[in-house]
Amino acid sequence: MNLGYTEEQKAFRDEVRAFLNDNLPKRLSDKVAGGKRLTKADYEEWHAILNARGWLGVNWPTQYGGTGWDAVQRHIFEEETTAAHAPRIVPFGVAMLGPVLMAFGSDAQKAHYLPRILNGEDWWCQGYSEPGAGSDLANVQTTAVRDGDDYIVNGQKTWTTLGQHADWIFCLVRTSKEGKRQEGISFLLIDMKTPGIEVRPIVLIDGEPEVNEVWFKDVRVPAANLVGEENKGWTYAKYLLTHERTNIAGVGFARAGLASLKRIAGSQSHNGKPLIQNPFFAAKVAQVEIDLMAMATTNLRTIAAAASGQAPGAESSMLKVKGTVIRQQINALAKQAVGPYAAPFVSELLDEGTNVDPVGPAEAMPATQAYFNNRKLSIYGGSNEVQRAIISKAILEL
C-alpha cells in the first residue's frame, strides 16, 4: 500500500499546476470562485486554451488528439483544475459523444466530428431524457421514421443541459416498436439548426435556466447521421453511461466547497464569535470533512484499480451516492452559515461585472443558489435510488 503519488505523478501534477498558473485567466477563475453565471463564450475560451495545450481531450487516446492519460493522471488534472477554480470542461462533446464515436462511429463520422469537438466548432448537447421517463431511460418515445435518405424525427427531449448554446444534439430515438423496448432505439446526431427544432429553457429552483426542453416536429435528419447500426442505440447509450464516468465522486468540487464553507463560517459571526467556533457548527463541518477524507481515498482506490486495468463495478455507484451526499451536505452547511441573508435573491448579481451591490455578504446568494441547484446531484446521471439498486443487486445477486 502506498497512499502517495509516484515521483512521475508528482511531476505531472506540477506541470498541470504550472500550466494553470500561466494560462487560466483570472477573470474566469474569479467567476467560478464567486459563483457567477458562466457564458457560452467563457466555456469556449477555456476549451480553446486547453485545446491549444492538447489537454481538452482528457479521456481521449492520442490518436484522436487526446491526452492519452491514465486514470490517475486524469484524476490529478481534475483535482488541480477544480482547486484552481477553472471552468469545467463541458462534457457533452468531449466526455460523452467523443468516446461513443470512437467506438461505434463510421470513419467519416470520426474524421468529421472529433476534430470539431476539440477545436470548438461544434457545441454538443445530450438528447437522452424525455418527459415522463425519468430514470427509465429505455422509455424513448421520440420517433425517427426512415424516409428515403433521411429520418423524420418527432418528439420531445428534456433536461437538456446548456442546450441553449448547442449546435448539435445526440439523441436516442425510437426506430422500431418491435421486441423489447431496448431493441428499437437508435443513436442519431442532429443539427440544432434543422427546421422543426424548438428549444425552451426551464428555470430551475436556483433561478437559472440551466436546462431546456427540445421539441422535434417533422425534423429531417440525414440517415448518414446515424451512429452505428439502426436499433442498436441502446448499446451505445449504455456504453456512454458506463464508460469511465470521470470524476463521478466529485472530490475536487467537494474540497473546493468545503474550503469555501470554512471561509464563510470563519467570517460569519455567531453570538460574538466566528461561526466556525460554535461547537454545533464545527461538529457538522468536521463530520463532513472526515467523510470526505475517507471518500477521497475510496475514490483513489477505484482510480488505482482502473489504472491497473480493473473495470469498476458497483464502486462507481457507491462513489456517486456518497459523493453527491457529501457535496449536498456541504451546500446545506454553507446555506446555513450565511444565515438570514440566504433569503434575498438578486439575479443580476450572477452577471459578470455587475455594478449591483450584493445584499449582505457577497457569498450569501451563491451559497443559497448552490444548495438549490445541487439538489440535482442526487437526481441526475442515474438517481441515487437507481445507484442503490445497482449496489445492492451487485452484492445480493437476487
Binding site: S269, Y341, A343, R375, S383
Partner: protein, 369 residues
C-alpha cells in the same frame, strides 16, 4: 385535553382555505414577487376583510382572537397556500408591540394597515439583543441612525416599528428602545426573496418627534422577545401548512407518476421514506400545538426553541425528500413544488435556525434545572 378547533376557528379555517384556493397559486405569487411591493394588495385587502389580521388580536384590542391557536389556525392556511403576507411582521411583531404601547393603533392593523418591523440588523444574525442602530435624544426629539436588515414587505408598509439603542453595548439586552417611524423617514433598497415576497435593507438617518418612542426608553427587550415568540408561532404554523401542501403534492406525484411500468409510489424504498416524512410532519404539528398552547405560560421560551428546532429539521427533510421523490420536475420553478419547497427552506433562515434554537433550548433547560 382537547385537540379540536373551536367552531369559530374551524369556520375561519374553512373560509380561508376556500378563499386562498380560489384566489392564489404559485404563479400569481411569483408575479406579485416581481411586482412593486411583493404583495398582491387586492388579495391582502380581501384577507383583511375575512379577519386575517383581526384574528391575531383580542377583543379588547379590536380583534376577535389573539390566542396561540388563533395564530396557528390562520398561519397554517397561509402556509398551505404558500402565500407570503405581512401577517407576521405587521400583525404579530409590530402588532404585539403596538397593542402594548399604542393600543389605539391596533384597530388600523386589524383593518389591514401594514406596519413593518425593523429590528434585525446586518451583523446580528439571530441575536435579538444585537442592536447597533442608535437613537439620540435631541431638542427636536429622537435622532435615529443605523441600518436594518431584510425588512419584509417594507415597500408595502405605511410605517415601521424600529428598534434602536438608547444606551448600552451593542449586544446588551438593556438599553434597547422602540420607535414608530413613518415610511418617509427611511431609505430602502428592496429586492425579491427566495420563496416569494420582497424585503429591503433600511438606512435610518432621521429625526423624529418625541412621541415616536414606544413604551419606556431602554426597556424594550422583553417586549421584543414576546413579539418574536408570537411571530415564531406564526412562522412555525406557516411552515406546517407548507409541509401539508408539499405532502399532498408528493403523495399525488407518487400515485400518478409511472416508471418502470408502475406508479413510483409502489416502490417500497420510496414508501418507507414517505412514511418517515409523514411521521415527521405529525411531529411538526405537535410541536406547533405545544408552542401555541404555551405562548402565555412560563414554558413559552422552551417551547419556542423546541418548535423552531424541530420545524427547522423537519423542513429540511421535507424539502429534500420531496424534491428527490419528484426528480427533475421538482427542480423546476414551473411546477408548484419548487415554490413551496423554497419557501419552506427559508423558514430556517429567519428568527434563528435549528442549531441556534437547540443551543437556546439547552441553555433554558439547564438554567431551569
Amino acid at each position: 385535553m382537547q385537540f379540536k378547533l373551536t367552531e369559530e376557528r374551524q369556520m375561519l379555517q374553512d373560509g380561508l382555505r376556500r378563499y386562498l384556493a380560489d384566489s392564489t397559486d404559485h404563479e400569481k405569487i411569483a408575479a406579485a414577487t416581481d411586482g412593486a411591493t411583493g404583495l398582491d394588495h387586492a388579495l391582502w385587502d380581501g384577507l383583511a376583510e375575512m379577519g386575517l389580521p383581526g384574528a391575531m388580536f383580542t377583543e379588547d384590542q379590536g380583534g376577535f382572537g389573539g390566542e396561540g391557536f388563533d395564530i396557528m389556525t390562520v398561519a397554517e392556511e397561509l402556509g398551505r397556500a404558500g402565500l407570503p403576507t405581512p401577517l407576521i411582521d405587521s400583525a404579530l411583531l409590530s402588532g404585539t408591540v403596538l397593542a402594548e404601547t399604542r393600543p389605539e393603533l391596533t384597530q388600523d392593523l386589524v383593518a389591514g394597515k401594514i406596519v413593518g418591523f425593523a429590528h434585525a440588523e446586518p451583523g446580528a444574525r439571530y441575536d435579538l439583543a444585537h442592536v447597533a442602530t442608535r437613537a439620540e435624544k435631541t431638542a427636536e426629539g429622537w435622532t435615529l441612525t443605523g441600518n436594518k436588515a431584510i425588512v419584509q414587505f417594507a415597500l408595502a408598509a405605511d410605517g415601521f416599528v424600529v428598534s434602536a439603542r438608547t444606551s448600552g453595548a451593542t449586544d446588551a439586552k438593556e438599553g434597547i428602545s422602540l420607535f414608530l417611524v413613518p415610511h418617509e423617514h427611511v431609505t430602502l433598497r428592496d429586492y425579491p426573496l427566495n420563496g416569494g415576497g420582497r424585503a429591503a435593507e433600511m438606512t435610518l438617518d432621521a429625526t423624529l418627534p418625541e412621541d415616536a418612542l414606544l413604551g419606556e426608553a431602554g426597556a424594550a427587550y422583553a417586549l421584543i422577545e414576546t413579539a418574536h415568540a408570537r411571530a415564531i408561532a406564526g412562522q412555525c404554523a406557516e411552515a406546517l401548512g407548507l409541509m401539508e401542501t408539499i405532502k399532498d403534492l408528493t403523495v399525488d406525484y407518487l400515485r400518478q407518476r409511472r416508471q418502470f411500468g408502475q406508479p413510483i409510489g409502489k416502490f417500497q424504498a420510496l414508501q418507507h421514506r414517505m412514511a418517515d416524512v409523514l411521521i415527521e410532519i405529525e411531529q411538526a404539528r405537535s410541536a406547533v400545538i405545544n408552542l401555541c398552547g404555551n405562548l402565555d405560560t412560563p414554558e413559552r421560551d422552551l417551547h419556542v426553541s423546541a418548535a423552531k428546532n424541530l420545524i427547522g429539521r423537519v423542513a429540511r427533510q421535507v424539502v429534500e425528500e420531496s424534491i428527490q421523490m419528484h426528480g427533475g420536475i421538482g427542480m423546476t420553478m414551473e411546477y408548484a413544488l419548487g415554490h413551496f419547497a423554497k419557501r419552506l427552506s427559508m423558514v430556517d433562515h429567519r428568527f434563528g435556525d435549528a442549531d441556534t434554537h437547540l443551543e437556546r433550548f439547552i441553555h433554558l433547560s439547564q438554567s431551569a434545572a
